[in-house]
Amino acid sequence: MSEYFFISLAAIVAIGVVAVLLLLSTILGPRNPNRAKLTPYECGIIPQEEAKGRYPVRFATLAMLFIIFDIEVVFMYPWAVSLGELKLFGLLEMVVFIAILGIAYIYIWGRGGLEWD
């Protein structure tokens, strides 16, 4: 438990570094804004519409795929640590688990879920 206390110490120090950097950049810099400076940068073209709101849907599909596979990896970590005790049983369990996931993976691949265009 005490080791995690040291991590909170490190977190405090890291917050300190971040605060000092942000503070310095706010205090030291000059401040003379004008209209051109305050518009979003678009290579010199005047922005026509807001950037917020819409983004390509494939990013969302990818995020969903990631959740599926990441849960698998989360499950694998305790398994990997205790494989020395589980022996053959643990290995067979994992082979079955990965086989089921492999079917899902092949299905995603076949349906074009991993294509980017």
Binding site: L38, L62, A63, V73, L83, G84, L91, E115
Partner: protein, 340 residues
């Protein structure tokens, strides 16, 4: 008198030592960034048959320092349609997670000083590698928030690309590390180094090393996987709208992440502080660790000047269709060899 002072501080000694270690590591990480920038510019110069920075100070060593002073005194522009709070929060998250994720990295073996055994780490937790993955994974929030809060199209695309790339390669990174965990049976980084006293794992697990290193390069957004900040298409990606020190903070985060990733590769695959040829003590251990990390950092820079940037769809296909199946296969092979 002195005895009284010592006696008074006795119960708090672990607190003082811990605080000092935390401060030393945070300051060292902050200070190593200008050095790395210098190293990268010098090496890139040599790779491209030019001189690189050589005007300010000996060997141009003053260049990154004068650059950072200049950045401190630059105007901080926040464009009017940006979300002010999130705009400031984003670089803060990037630097915070970068420094914090280094907290569990042991830089040499424990040593004794004034009768106290001191571990050269801020914290030696049993879930060390999970902690690093968790905290450095949080770093993508900084990039996505930077992209979303800037309200600029380049930033938004950079932030989205960054998140998509990081989640794709995080899987490979995690599964490649799993092969090492299967072999050591522990998540503790000190235990992992101890189990490499005879041979470093790079010789036992070359495939896992390659996968881990490639995924690590992609995770730190370094060339040839630096799509989130591809200059030719996205200006500067998620930090297009940032100026001055806040702009520099993203660079700090990136370079500290590079150091953390190199340290992690060293601990998992190159034997950490094991010297193998020299006599083993805390000093030579630290030198060995520093040498290995420095070598990997130079390797990062070498990669950048060798490979052209990979196309975005190829990046995704490479991660999902090539690295992921190989990583799972390697994991199954390793565990089968361990059990049978």
């Amino acid at each position: 008198m002195i005895d009284d002072i010592v006696h008074f501080f006795e119960p708090y000694i672990y607190l003082i030592v811990g605080g000092v270690k935390a401060i030393i590591i945070a300051v060292a990480l902050t200070a190593v960034v200008p050095g790395l920038v210098w190293l990268e510019r010098r090496l890139m110069g040599r790779f491209q048959v030019r001189l690189g920075p050589n005007r300010v100070g000996p060997f141009g060593l003053g260049q990154p320092i004068s650059d950072s002073i200049k950045l401190l005194f630059k105007e901080s522009i926040i464009q009017s349609s940006a979300d002010k709070f999130l705009f400031h929060l984003a670089p803060a998250i990037v630097v915070f997670t970068a420094i914090l994720s280094f907290a569990v990295i042991p830089i040499t073996q424990p040593f004794e000083i004034f009768g106290q055994t001191i571990g050269p780490w801020i914290a030696n937790i049993d879930s060390g590698i999970l902690f690093i993955f968790a905290i450095s994974g949080m770093g993508i929030y900084g990039k996505v928030i930077a992209g979303l809060s800037s309200n600029s199209k380049y930033s938004l695309m950079g932030g989205l690309r960054s998140s998509a790339q990081m989640i794709s390669y995080e899987l490979t990174l995690g599964i490649a590390a799993l092969s090492i965990i299967v072999m050591t049976g522990s998540l503790n980084l000190v235990d992992m180094v101890k189990s490499q006293e005879a041979v470093p794992f790079i010789l036992v697990q070359p495939l896992a090393f390659l996968l881990f290193f490639i995924a690590g390069v992609a995770e730190t957004n370094r060339a040839p996987f630096d799509l989130p900040e591809a200059e030719q298409e996205l200006v500067a990606g998620f930090h297009t709208e940032y100026t001055g020190m806040k702009f520099a903070m993203f660079f700090m985060g990136e370079y500290i992440n590079m150091v953390t990733m190199s340290s992690l590769v060293t601990l998992l695959f190159l034997g950490g502080w094991n010297t193998y040829i020299l006599p083993q003590n805390a000093l030579t251990g630290f030198l060995a660790f520093a040498f290995k990390v420095l070598f990997l950092l130079c390797f990062f820079i070498w990669l950048r000047s060798t490979f052209p940037r990979i196309r975005y769809d190829r990046l995704m296909t490479f991660g999902w269709k090539f690295l992921l199946p190989i990583a799972i296969f390697n994991l199954l092979l390793t565990s089968a060899l361990k059990v049978l």
